[in-house]
C-alpha cells in the first residue's frame, strides 16, 4: 500500500530521517515505534506531504508518487489524524468534517447529503457519532472519532494516526482498538505512531522500530515481545519492571482529614478525602485524569488559596492549611508537578537559574551581602551537581530550559526536588512524555528515595506505573477515594472498575 524508500530529511544540523525504509502492507495495522525524536513523526509527515524529503521515494500502490502537500496525499487515499485535534469546537460534526471539502455549489452548502453520508460511514464503522452534534459537546474519545470520519469522508484508504491513545482513558483505548480492528476488516490500512509498547502488542500486525532517525528493526508483532521492542528502541537492555523490596514503613508524615477543595468556579474537585502517607512508603493515586488529582496535589503543595480548602492537612503533626508554598518547602515538602512547562520550569531561564527555584532566597544560594545577592558560584555548583547526578543532557547549565527535551527537563525538575532531601515528595505524572530509558531511571530514583525514608505520594495516569511503584494504591473517582487496593494482588480490571464507576 505505502512504501518509503531511502527517505532522508534534514532540519539544519539534525538528521531527522536517515535513509528510512518502511513498507506498509495493505489491510494491516502497522505500528511505528520509537522514542521522542526518533524520527517517526517526521517520516509520516513526509508521507502525508507536510514535509518533502531531501531524497528518497514514496511509493503508493506500487507507483512512485510525488507528494508535495497533504492535498496530494488525500487524493491518493492517505489520511492523517494528528495528536492534537484540528476541530472547530463551535461547529457541528458534519460542518467540521466537510470543512475544506464542502459539498454543493459555491453559493449553497449541501450539508444534508453530507450528513447522510457521514451517518452512513459512522454506521459502517460503528463509530456512533451524530453528525448534527456540536463538537464542543463531545468527549475526547468522540472527537477522535470525528477526526477518523474526516479522513474516511475524504475516501482515505490508509490512515496515519499520530499518538492516538495519548489523550484517551483506558476504557476509551479499548473502544478505539475495536474501531481500528473493524477498519482493518473493511480493508483499510492503518499506521499507528506510538511509544507505548503494550498497545503495539495489542493492536498491530507489524512493527517498524526507529531510533535516531534510522529504522533499526522490522518485526511481526506475533514474533516479538515488549522487552525486545524496548531494547530496539533504546539500544540497550531496559528493565521494564520496577525492582523494589517491601517498604519499611515509619511513622505517618502526611495526614489528611476530610479534605475538600473547590476550584475558582466553586465546583468541588476534591470531596472529603482522608488518608495518610508514612515515611518509607509510596502511596499511589490512580484515576482517570480530571477526577481531582491535580487539585489534591496543588492543595497539599500550598498552591491553592486556603479559602478554597476545608478539612485538615497535617504534616508531622503540624497543621499546614494556612501555610504558603514557601513554608511548606522549608518544612521538607518537595513537589514534582504534573505540568512541567506550566508549573515546574521557567522555560526562558537557564538550567542554572531553574536549579535554584524554591531555594533561591536563602543560603547557600542567597548568601552574599546579608543574603540579598545570589552567590553565582553556589548557583553553578548546585546546577552542575543536579546535572551530573541526574544525567541531564546536554550538560550545559547556561542553556535555557526550553531547549531541553521533555525527558531531560523532567530529570532537571526531579533532580532539583531531590536535592532538598525532602521528607515528603508529591509527584504527579513523573514520566509523562518521557522516553523509556529515562522512565527506568526516574522509577529507580523514586524507589531509592523511598528506601531512604521519604514519604511519597504518587499520582499517575499510567496504570502500570502506579501499580508497579506503589506500596499502597488509592483509587480516586469524582474527587473521592473510591477504594484502596494492594497493588501487588489487584487486577487491572478491578482497578479500572473503581476508576470509572467509583465503587
Amino acid at each position: 500500500m505505502l512504501e518509503l524508500r531511502n527517505i532522508t530529511k534534514r532540519f539544519g544540523d539534525v538528521l531527522a530521517n536517515d535513509n528510512v525504509n518502511i513498507v506498509v502492507k495493505p489491510g494491516t495495522i502497522h505500528a511505528i515505534v520509537g522514542e521522542n525524536g526518533a524520527g517517526k513523526s517526521t517520516a509520516m509527515r513526509i508521507a502525508y506531504g507536510f514535509y518533502t524529503a531531501d531524497s528518497g521515494e514514496i511509493i503508493v500502490d506500487g507507483q512512485p508518487r510525488d507528494i508535495k502537500s497533504p492535498h496530494d496525499a488525500i487524493a491518493l487515499g492517505i489520511g492523517m489524524v494528528h495528536q492534537h485535534f484540528m476541530l472547530v469546537e463551535t461547529m457541528t460534526v458534519a460542518e467540521n468534517i466537510v470543512l475544506g471539502a464542502e459539498p454543493g455549489t459555491a453559493l449553497a452548502l449541501d450539508l444534508k447529503s453530507a450528513a447522510a453520508q457521514i451517518r452512513q460511514l459512522s454506521e459502517e464503522f460503528k463509530l456512533a457519532v451524530n453528525p448534527n452534534e456540536p463538537v464542543e459537546h463531545l468527549s475526547v474519545g468522540q472527537q477522535q472519532r470525528v477526526e477518523l470520519l474526516k479522513a474516511l469522508y475524504r475516501h482515505a484508504r490508509l490512515l496515519i494516526l499520530d499518538e492516538p491513545t495519548a489523550v484517551l482513558t483506558p476504557l476509551e483505548v479499548e473502544e478505539f482498538f475495536v474501531i481500528l480492528r473493524r477498519m482493518r476488516e473493511q480493508g483499510k490500512t492503518v499506521i499507528i505512531i506510538t511509544h507505548k509498547l503494550s498497545e503495539v502488542l495489542a493492536i498491530s500486525d507489524e512493527v517498524t522500530v526507529m531510533r535516531d532517525g534510522k529504522v533499526v528493526g522490522r518485526v511481526q508483532t506475533k514474533d516479538t515481545n515488549a522487552a525486545e521492542l524496548a531494547r530496539l528502541m533504546v539500544g540497550r537492555e531496559v528493565l521494564l519492571r520496577v525492582e523494589k523490596t517491601d517498604a519499611e514503613v515509619g511513622r505517618p508524615q502526611l495526614e489528611i482529614r476530610n479534605l475538600s477543595v473547590t476550584d475558582i468556579n466553586g465546583t468541588k474537585r476534591v470531596d472529603g478525602v482522608s488518608f495518610e502517607v508514612r515515611s518509607g512508603e509510596i502511596v499511589g493515586i490512580a484515576g482517570v485524569e480530571g477526577n481531582g488529582q491535580t487539585e489534591l496535589i496543588e492543595a497539599l503543595a500550598g498552591l491553592v488559596d486556603p479559602e478554597r480548602i476545608s478539612g485538615e492537612i497535617n504534616f508531622e503533626g503540624r497543621n499546614l492549611n494556612a501555610l504558603g508554598a514557601r513554608i511548606r518547602r522549608e518544612l521538607g515538602i518537595a513537589h514534582i508537578p504534573e505540568d512541567r512547562h506550566r508549573r515546574g520550569l521557567l522555560l526562558d531561564f537557564s538550567l542554572a537559574e531553574n536549579s535554584i527555584l524554591g531555594v533561591h532566597y536563602r543560603p547557600p544560594i542567597a548568601a552574599m551581602a546579608g543574603g540579598i545577592f545570589l552567590d553565582e558560584n553556589a548557583v553553578q555548583r548546585r546546577a552542575s551537581e543536579i546535572i551530573q547526578a541526574f544525567d541531564v543532557r546536554p550538560p550545559n547549565a547556561a542553556l535555557p530550559a526550553r531547549s531541553l527535551s521533555g525527558g531531560n527537563q523532567q530529570k532537571l525538575i526531579i533532580g532539583r526536588e531531590y536535592r532538598v532531601d525532602p521528607k515528603l515528595l508529591l509527584v504527579s505524572q513523573p514520566t509523562r512524555g518521557v522516553d523509556i530509558g529515562a522512565i527506568e531511571f526516574i522509577h529507580r530514583q523514586l524507589v531509592g528515595l523511598r528506601d531512604d525514608g521519604c514519604a511519597i505520594l504518587l499520582v499517575s495516569a499510567e496504570l502500570e506505573e502506579v501499580t508497579s511503584l506503589s506500596d499502597r494504591l488509592l483509587i480516586i473517582h469524582d474527587g473521592r477515594i473510591a477504594g484502596e487496593v494492594d497493588p501487588k494482588t489487584a487486577t487491572l480490571e478491578e482497578i479500572g472498575l473503581l476508576m470509572t464507576r467509583g465503587h
Binding site: F11, R326, R342, F349, Y361, G371
Partner: protein, 353 residues
Amino acid sequence: MNKLARELLFPLIAVVAAFIVGGILILLVGDNPIVAYRLLLGSALSWPDGIGYTLFHATPLIFTGLAVLVGFRCGLFNIGAEGQLYIAAFATAWVGITFANSSSWLLIPMCFAAAILTGAFWGAIPGVLKAKFGSHEVINTIMLNFIAVALVSYFTQYHYKVPGDPILQTAPIGPSAYIPHLGRFIPGLPERIPLNLAFILALLCCLLVYLFLWRTKWGYEIRATGSNPFAAEYGGISIRKQIILAMSVSGALAGMVAINEVLGNRHRYYDGFSDNYGFTGIAVALLGRNHPVGVILAALLFAALQHGGIYVDGFSEHVTKDIVQVLQGVIILFVAAEGFFKWALGRRLPWNV
C-alpha cells in the same frame, strides 16, 4: 558573541528600516534624504552642543526606559511612567521650595528622596490594585496619568504659582538644591548646556537595575514572576508581592526624571515639561530589548533624533521635524513586528535549528 549578535540584529533591522522608510518619505516631499539625514545626525553629534544636548535629552529617556523595563521583566506593562514622573517632579519642587533654606547636604538628599518615593508611591497604586483585586495595570496606569497631570496642574495653578507669572510654573527651588551642570567638570563643554549630574545618575541606575534584576534574590523573583507566574508560585514566590515591588521600583525610576528636570535643569516645576518621556520610555525599553545596556543605546538614539529634528526643521526646505516622529514610529513598528521577522527569516538564521 553569537548571543550578542542575535540581540542586536532585530533592533538594527528596525532602525535601518526606519531610515529607509523615512528616506522614501523625504524623497516624496521633494528633499534629498542624504542631506536631511546628514543634517539630522550631524547636528546631534556635533561637539559640544549636539552631543551635550543629546545626552541631556537622553537622561529622562534612560530613567523611563529603565522604569518600563523593570515592569516588563515582571510581566507588567507600565504605561504610567508619564504620570509618575509628573507627580515626582512636583513633589521634588515642593520640597526644594519649602525647605529652600536648608544646606545642600540636607536638601539634595531630601529632593532625591521626594522624587524616588513619590514616583514609587504613584507606581505602587496600580501595583496594589492588581495584586489585591486583579485589575489590569494598563488601564490603571493610563488613568493615573490623567489624574497625575491634572493634579499637579491644579496645585501649580492655584497654590504654587508666583502671582502674576504668565507661565504655569512654580516658584524656583532653593539654590542649595541645584545639582551642577556637567559643563563645570568637562573642558570644552559650556555650562549653559543643561546636561547635568542626573545623566551620571542615570548611567549608575542602569548598573543598579542590572545588579538588582540579575544578581539579587529579589530580581530573581521579579523575573521569575514575569517569565512564568505559575512556576514562580510553585517555587514559593508570592506573585502579589512581586507585582507591588516591581511597580514601586518602576515608579521610582520614572520619578528620577524629576532630578534631571527640577534639580538640574529648570530649577522649578514647569507644567507640561515632559516631552512624552514616559511614553517614549516604552519604545526605548522595547528597542533596548529590555536590557539596561540596550536602554542606554536606545535612549541615545531617540535623544539624538529629538535634538537633530530641530535642525532639520530649521534648515531644510520641505522636511519638518515631524520626520523624527515618523522615524520613531517606524522603529517601534518594526520592533513590535519582531515576531513576524523571526517567522519569516526563521529557517535561514544560523542559530535556528
